[in-house]
Symmetry: C2
Subunit: 338 residues, 2 copies
Amino acid sequence: MQVKIKDVAKLAGVSVTTVSRVLNGEKYVKDDLKEKVNRAIEELGYAPSQIARSLVRKKTNLIGVIVPDLTSSFYSTILSSIEEVASANDFNLLVCNISEDIDKELKYLTVFQEMRVEGIIIMHEKINEQIRTLIHKIKIPVIFSSVKPMDQKFISVIVDDYQAAYDATQYLIELGHESIGFIGGDMRDITSGQNRYSGYRNAMSESGKKLVYEHIRFGDYKVRSGYDQMHEILSTKNPPTAVFAVSDDMAVGAMNCIRDHHLQVPGDISVMGFDGSQLTELVRPTLTSMEQPIHQMGKVTMDVLLKQIAGDMIPDEDIVLEHRLVARESCQNRKQDF
Amino acid sequence: MQVKIKDVAKLAGVSVTTVSRVLNGEKYVKDDLKEKVNRAIEELGYAPSQIARSLVRKKTNLIGVIVPDLTSSFYSTILSSIEEVASANDFNLLVCNISEDIDKELKYLTVFQEMRVEGIIIMHEKINEQIRTLIHKIKIPVIFSSVKPMDQKFISVIVDDYQAAYDATQYLIELGHESIGFIGGDMRDITSGQNRYSGYRNAMSESGKKLVYEHIRFGDYKVRSGYDQMHEILSTKNPPTAVFAVSDDMAVGAMNCIRDHHLQVPGDISVMGFDGSQLTELVRPTLTSMEQPIHQMGKVTMDVLLKQIAGDMIPDEDIVLEHRLVARESCQNRKQDF
DNA sequence: GTGAAAGCGCTAACAT
DNA sequence: ATGTTAGCGCTTTCAC
């Protein structure tokens, strides 16, 4: 049987109230009593039950986090930043990995509710009607990180995906590429699917480049799909001289595919990624990428959520962080240099 | 104010016991009452408090996990397997990322205790005296995953690091390499530091190869240190024809360094990794690696912990999983072929 | 300064 | 088959 406050009180020869006071660092406890209590705690190896404490205080110090894929370097980096801020503020993370499993998300949302978490962070946007209903009913602060669901009620911490993709494409255009392929994400995703595709399309058309639909394909953000989609693009009659993939993972897959076709990156085909993950510095040639401030994203998400929990005013609009193009080796200037 | 069981009882016109019975799927509740209760629950959007429930049942369904580095693909993959098994058994994960911060571990161990988690998974082995004392005092099942601390009391789920490193080195020897460099881990780590180094050393000496201490260096498992240590090795008079790094990340760093010195992998120098992470398939040339069954490791860890929690008999010895050498492109056969 | 007692939201005897 | 009631381990008035 676990040792409880009563046991400590008995051993110290004081009331439970006094023990509780010492535990919570209140004043109005004489030093000698305080010491007695601390000795008893030490001797019994007593650890106060957060469960009981939560029940009376109506405060759990718990945050629920829903991650689409823990093995992804992008999400796990955000998660680690979230954890850092949470821990510094004495909050604990209840982590759930829902790999495309929408039922699991529903289940976890319910669990979070039952656990009385004080805030919920969601990192994916494929929310169906059932989830939307539940999420609206829950009276717990919810914030989205790195994604923006089609729902005005909740705020997101994101980059301007449209503009970022526009800028990335523009960069390739400025390097002198006429024909630029595109490996997009899931078009059911607004943030990383639709918005990035729109950015690419508009940058192209505003520069008078025509879209070659054979060179436009969609993957699932993972390395494998980048490889496969690149394979399709290379099978066309006139492959593009540059390809923009909306995740670093897909960009790396594309690079590998290009190499397996005995072509050079960036000599024959330039490749641009998106995310600014650890991979960019790790592959050779190093990957030029449209960088999201991944760490900051996690930090800001948690900061805002903590404010929301504290009842402070929080912005009622999305928090848009700066994207930044980091040029590395995978994109080549095609212009004639003098 | 949160809706509670009493509110549901009132609305349904029954006692709280009846509501509780419906909640917990007990029989002995007439169908019409059951329906009334369910309607009330639905109408009020009631979610039973796990906090209160835990208090009386003395069961939290919580597992505490201590990860050394969430951003590492190795640990996050184990974590995702753990999560999968936990979730399937209705356990929730309290996740803590301690990046070399031993104080944070101490703090979290205390938090876990206070949260009354039912089991603790630890994925690193740098435990100091203070932590050892605490961990022994806690009456919660503890299991180590992928590491083995110097402590007989707890079991670990691991591979045979000594044998795995031995086999990896042996493989390079069999490929005809006479001079094999080594990029080890932290020698304070038993599992991945000392044991792997011993495996390398013994494989070398048993084959009559002499150890060249200039070619033996130690890093921190990360890409950067692999690069830096390889740089040192390449600065010696007669660099080896093969290098064995005890993490895939360091192996990739080494490969990049070799390339930056205008040498070929594996033409000039072969590189062998350790872990079998996603990276192996992603870099070019693909990385030959001594594979740990990462997913299985997480699964088995959680399986055993659940048994332990259930009070079942569990093995009193470490659970050693099979390692497996996966040959890819980064190691070359130096023998004369006819 | 310190303690007695009520109560947080639920479950589980026990009674009916 | 349903309800009454006593706790689970703690905090927090309130009284002394």
